[in-house]
């Protein structure tokens, strides 16, 4: 599941920037400047989602099948958003007709919202429990998906990505644009704190047992520390550490939600005995060992050349 974490840390800022474009920067040229900063990397970032899903398929096929089947419509809408976002990355820069250009930018922004929202919505639903694979659906099951905790996690997650988008923007730009971004981030920080409080409250209300879990408080602490560090690094205008403080917020969130049910991966509503734990949904030993090796080694190698490509292709733009 390291792949999904990596995904949120990387595509998180792509999606965050996409969402950010609705209100910052104001002029199209600046937006395009920032776009150029994520352009070479978005595909590599999105791959982490595919690696994670593929690995889920390989190691926990029962979990993979249960999730994808239960959230059929959401997943497919998410997939459509992936498709459109991907092509908008290619078509927006290539378009010279202004109306069409604006259209593709809108597509990018809308799809960023959809992807961020749905990703965390599904995560929130998994957190709260879903029916077992193969059980016929209750007539109004679709609207259950939009219950409190998933919704709160969805918007909190979007907020995490948005801040992450700011972080990457600050780190990749310079001059007037960077200063403007820092100012926006400082103002946004208050919203960010509010989401933390909201998130913590809802999680504890709906999962009271979490208050007794050690790792829950570790996660909450990491998230809180991240908030404080963000404020500090913003005032110091230290873009590198601010980025990692933002990343820590995301990491903290994962620890929080992961801790609540571990080792149960999928809590089956209404049938506790059918909970899918990490142990009983996983595959034969052969495959586990193989995938541990491939995923572990693979992840290291991917991180390695990803860092290389970032180094080579980045370079701050003077505005």
């Amino acid at each position: 599941m390291g792949f999904y974490l990596g995904y949120t840390l990387l595509d998180g800022f792509d999606l965050g920037i996409g969402m950010m474009f609705t209100f910052f920067p104001r002029n199209a040229k600046d937006r395009f400047t920032i776009f150029n900063k994520i352009w070479p990397f978005w595909d590599g970032n999105e791959v982490w989602l595919i690696m994670g899903t593929g690995t889920l398929f390989a190691i926990f096929p029962l979990v993979y099948g249960t999730i994808l089947s239960h959230f059929y419509l959401l997943i497919l809408v998410f997939v459509f958003a992936i498709i459109f976002r991907a092509v908008s990355f290619e078509f927006w820069p290539k378009e010279s007709r202004p109306g069409r250009k604006k259209m593709w930018e809108t597509v990018l922004v809308v799809c960023s919202f959809i992807m961020a929202f749905l990703f965390w919505l599904v995560a929130g639903n998994i957190l709260m429990g879903i029916p077992a694979a193969g059980t016929p659906k209750a007539p109004d099951y679709f609207w259950d998906i939009f219950s409190p905790v998933p919704l709160v996690l969805a918007v909190t997650g979007m907020n995490l990505f948005l801040m992450h988008g700011f972080a990457y923007t600050i780190d990749s730009t310079s001059g007037k644009l960077k200063t403007a971004a820092i100012r926006m981030a400082i103002r946004y920080w208050y919203v960010y704190v509010a989401f933390y409080i909201l998130f913590m409250i809802f999680i504890l209300i709906y999962n009271p047992h979490a208050a007794g879990l050690f790792y829950f408080w570790i996660g909450a602490a990491v998230y809180l520390v991240a908030i404080v560090l963000q404020k500090i690094f913003l005032s110091l205008a230290n873009s590198f550490w601010f980025f990692w403080a933002s990343a820590s917020g995301i990491i903290g969130t994962w620890v929080v939600i992961g801790s609540i049910h571990f080792p149960v991966m999928i809590k089956q509503t209404g049938q506790a005995e059918r909970n899918l734990t990490v142990y009983d949904s996983s595959n034969t030993l052969t495959v586990l060992i193989l995938m541990a090796f491939m995923a572990g080694l693979g992840m290291l190698i991917v991180i390695g050349y990803t860092i290389y490509v970032y180094r080579v292709l980045r370079g701050k733009l003077k505005t």
């Binding site: 395009f32 400047t33 150029n36 900063k37 990397f41 595909d43 590599g44 999105e46 791959v47 989602l49 595919i50 690696m51 899903t53 593929g54 398929f57 390989a58 096929p61 029962l62 993979y64 099948g65 249960t66 999730i67 994808l68 089947s69 059929y72 419509l73 997943i75 497919l76 998410f78 997939v79 459509f80 992936i82 498709i83 459109f84 092509v87 290619e90 078509f91 820069p93 290539k94 694979a133 193969g134 059980t135 659906k137 595959n283 034969t284 052969t286 495959v287 193989l290 995938m291 491939m294 995923a295 693979g298 190698i301 991917v302 050349y305 990803t306 490509v309 080579v312 292709l313 370079g315």
Partner: protein
Amino acid sequence: MDLTTILNRIQFGTAISYHFIFPPTTIGLSLVILITETLYYFKKEPLYKHSGNLLIEVLAIIYVIGVATGSVMEFLFGTNWTGFAIRGGDVVGPPAAIEAITSFALEGAFLAILVFGRNKVSGTIYWVAAILVFFGAHFSGWWIISANSWMQTPAGYDVQGDTFVVKNFIEAMFNHSTWVRYGHTINASWLTGLLLWLGISAWYKLKNKHEEFSKLCFSIALPLLFIFALSQIVLGHLSAVTVDRYQPEKNAAIEGIFETQKFAPLYLFGIPDRQANKILLPVAIPGMLSFLTGLSFDREIKGFNSFPPENRPAIEVVFQTFHLMVLFGGALLLTGLVGSILLFRKKLARQKWFLWLLVCIVPLPYINNELGWVTAEIGRQPWVIYGLLRTADGSNTTVPFAQVLITLIALFVIYIIISFFAFFFLKRTISKGPVSEEAFGYGG
């Protein structure tokens, strides 16, 4: 077969057929780019670099759509084929995951270097990037084909309850049909890429533009077209032999043999009639099928009717797709032959009809790629995992029919929209022609 399963099949079929337009192009172009970049690396002439620039820009567009449509597939196993995913996931999951980790990630990262990094990395690194993109694309193909081949000719597995688990991973991946199907698919991809290169060059030549680019292409691609069209027929033959050995129902269907027989005929044309148990309007070479299959006219070919009715695939469909594919493959071979002769005799420039042929024939490998897959997958029915899991049993029937229908229609519409834009941008990129540094690359 219930309605939801039928929709699932259509949805998956649509998604994968559309997706399969792009990976062969990517693989084929990665070969062509490797050629031009290697030439540039060693000979340092601008022509090679500018050719590479154009092809890389084309590849970038193709690749993005390949990624978008391919990512869809990763999810579609679970959404529409949940039973298959859960029961076969132990074996099919790992190659899917490993493809993403080792090949897709690699290809994407280094394609970024090719697109954005011409002036940012050394010549050696750039060339290595071209090699890695080539390798990544081909390695991706390996994992996907081996997973699909396991579905066709399962091996190296055990049965645990109602799931299939890996007993020997090497045996499962390197099963009876992986190698030959991989070879056949990669070769097909090379043909796709070469013909695209040829089509572009022929177009330029007809407009009297970018003469050097076209000349380079013809001198390399026409002989390669002939060679690879030939090897494709050989690999196709080996694939057919494999099908005869391991999937006899499919073999009977694609070859149109209703009754088990020795000295079986090789049909070149016909229309299978299931009710009458024969091929209507037949054109056949007597005994040839037996001979090709087993190098002996005494080779017995199992007939379509010798199998239980519930195990027989749609002979009416796969007989035609198979034969059309072979016919078009022959056309490609002929094109390669004629082109190479014209090239050798230096008569190419004046044969405008041949240049037009090259432009018009670009869709042919794409058609063949699809025909081949239809033959393979429809021929495998009623199984999703041959002999082990029926398609109907692997399908997700818990999703309401209406939801599947909505997503199917949406998928159709989305892909049509994307196609329009893809065509538009590809046309514009190609019209620009091979470009130098200043024109190449993107803002920022």
